[in-house]
Symmetry: C2
Subunit: 427 residues, 2 copies
């Protein structure tokens, strides 16, 4: 078998892991690595035959390089580099969920027209072979939903809040110190990262990318430790859940912190792990749990892709076999207002007679049926009311909450969180 | 894309599921199905173009048929049919773990020499795409272990014993009534089925099949409900665990009911689900949970294989790409006596002074260190002693138990079970 020549853009943590793993592959030669800053200190060494360069074009224009590994991340200039590489008929292996989610239709259309493949196992769920599972492993199934914990940073933060009884700010600072969260945690804690993954998963599962801007997101920033504690008493763990579901050609795609029943397998996914449920028409529900990020798990996915691609390149005309069928149109994503789920609510109210009656009246007017109501922690003139509802349409809940907030008895809306309702009673 | 012509041997529950799924695939034509008994009543209909025959050779000798799906099961005559089909250069898709485990080296060697592929996703963990995950998804990893719950029937029985507080015999009869267990449950409850799967997983993970006869097996037949109850009090669930671990070119391969810590993800795998942990050098530990058997999940794996194979057959010379590298020698499986794990023991003893001292002396002489000892349920002149040990070599425990059984104070060895010790603290 002849050797396949590989180039790489980016040499951060994941890139350095790729170098380590790829040096053990006898059929692959890493010829050039392009970086922004040649003088930055890096762990480990490049193989002697590999050139480090700050000139990306020397890599893109090198006809010997047949596979481009992109681990620089971010939207730009990664997009331009990828488009140029595809133009030069290089196959792409990328961990860059942002550029795929925002420009997937363009990238895949161009790849098809040039007869090259884009492999992206590392872009979703790090080391978990989720992409190949959906793409090849469940080939005989119509996928109806992909749901789960898709961000290791926020799962780490929520695990720490739960276990140590600390608030969000402390847990975030701790995660930053441990290297589990970035200095700017926006992409993780506000759900953008999960929305990119949901866009990519929608493309694989249903054939069309979901525009990240069309995906409804709730942050975990405003989560109180109180609610983690009360949820635990009620038999739930709070997790940041991403959902993409298909029905009649339209998608529900959203990311929000949700209450997950403690006996559900997702409740047991702790620290920086990911846990993903895939529902297929024939197989039913399958679950994958494992490291969703980290240097070597992500490098494992990238180098696994590279080996599979390099092996396949020995076959003539293989590109179409590996390219998932993804359309160039964006998916139709429904307004989140139509999304239905039970809610967990915590209201701080004036402790005056008739308050519960008022709440009941407002909820009744908006088709909200209460499953349980507990009055807790009554302070002087103040009560905390925890309500669990039956399934309700988000638009109805939004209107009811807006009315409550205009009422004279509500002092504070402590929390309004979705409750995750598993489709199947797995595990 | 031209149509690929498929033949199938067997039309039981799984075969009927395959017919249902395959009829939705426009690139596949099911031409012939061979069965032992033409007149048996079957659910659903064959497509009009498909011939039902009791003459297997008419199928094996049909040059139009390029893919043979084998869902008849059992060692013989399936082995002969598969060898004949390979001789005729037909690709094989099989759910038959027994024939693969017992004759894997022969089958794969012949397939290689004839340039055909054997796909077998359905043979292990039913609908879970475990085979493709190990074969392709973790290509960049050295696999060090594959461990978990690999038999849905026994997991269903153990779940029912735990939840309903019933004994093995009642739970088995119930599982038989529900269709989760066969009339002759030997293959499932005595660990043979799991040993076949471990043989196949060893081939995929480490390159060599493990002879099923070389795999140590403990049955769940002798499991008492008492031990399930006591284990639960101690924080464990009892599960039938299959293990194949590689170290220095030798394998530990065994199947036994084990105590699994309740906070471990395997403890949450209930009813007829399977749950498998794979440890890879780069990725760490990943977990897959889902339906390990059943009509449509198994058919999903078979038809998924068929679609992938049919697509790949459009490429010239693809067979070597898909064939896992499996050697023709059997793996070296270590004697189970060298296996190390903590133990759970329940001893019924005469309630006379000094008994605990005697036990301690015998254990000490065999390098067994006690972690906890609880005396329970003392009846007249009789005590039940539950012991949890630190890790101990099986040979040492076997000798100590044999000495105990010769002592005058032991009335009954109630239980001696392994405790599962996760390699990583997953979930």
């Amino acid at each position: 078998m002849s050797k396949i020549v590989v180039g790489m853009i980016g040499l951060g943590t994941v890139g350095q892991g790729v170098v380590r793993l790829i040096s053990g592959c006898k059929n692959l030669v890493l010829k050039k690595v392009a970086v922004a800053n040649l003088t930055k200190a890096r762990e480990g060494q490049l193989p002697g035959s590999c050139q480090l360069t700050d000139d990306v074009s020397s890599l893109l224009n090198d006809p010997e390089i047949e596979i481009l590994i992109e681990v620089m991340g971010g939207e730009k200039p990664a997009l331009d580099y990828l488009l140029q590489a595809i133009e030069k008929r290089k196959h792409i292996i990328t961990a860059n969920k942002e550029v795929l989610a925002k420009h997937g239709p363009t990238l895949f259309e161009k790849a098809r027209s040039k007869g090259v493949d884009i492999f992206f196992e590392a872009a979703v769920a790090g080391g978990l072979p989720l992409i190949s599972t959906i793409h090849k492993g469940l080939e005989a199934n119509e996928i109806s939903s992909v749901v789960g914990i898709m961000n290791g940073t926020t799962n780490y933060i929520l695990s720490q809040m739960t276990e140590k009884g600390i608030g969000f700010d402390v847990a975030l600072a701790d995660a930053q110190k441990q290297g589990f969260a970035e200095a700017d945690p926006t992409a993780d804690v506000d759900g953008h990262d999960v929305s990119y993954k949901l866009s990519i998963l929608s493309a694989l599962a249903y054939g069309r990318f979901a525009q990240p801007t069309s995906i409804y997101k709730e942050s975990i920033r405003t989560l109180h430790f109180d609610d983690i504690k009360i949820a635990a008493e009620l038999g739930y763990a709070i997790k940041l859940i991403g959902i993409t579901k298909s029905k009649d050609g339209e998608l529900d795609v959203l990311v929000a912190p949700m209450l997950v029943p403690k006996n559900h397998v997702l409740a047991a996914v702790s620290l920086s792990n990911n846990g993903i449920l895939v529902n297929g028409s024939a197989v039913g529900e399958i679950v994958m749990v494992g490291p969703g990020a980290g240097q070597m798990p992500t490098a494992s996915a990238i180098v696994g892709d590279t080996i599979n691609l390099a092996n396949a390149m020995q076959l003539p005309d293989f590109a179409s076999y590996f390219q998932p069928e993804i359309e160039t149109e964006w998916a139709t994503v429904k307004e989140a207002t139509t999304w239905r789920s039970p809610y967990y609510l915590r209201l701080i109210v004036n402790d005056t007679p008739g308050v519960i009656g008022h709440i009941g009246t407002i909820f009744g007017a908006h088709n909200i049926s209460i499953r349980s109501l507990i009055q807790k922690d009554t302070k002087k003139d103040e009560a905390s009311i925890v309500i669990v509802t039956h399934e309700v349409k988000k638009a109805d809940m939004d209107q009811a909450l807006s009315k409550l907030q205009k009422s004279d008895f509500l002092k504070e809306l402590g929390a309004a969180l979705h409750i995750f309702t598993p489709e199947s009673n797995h595990a």
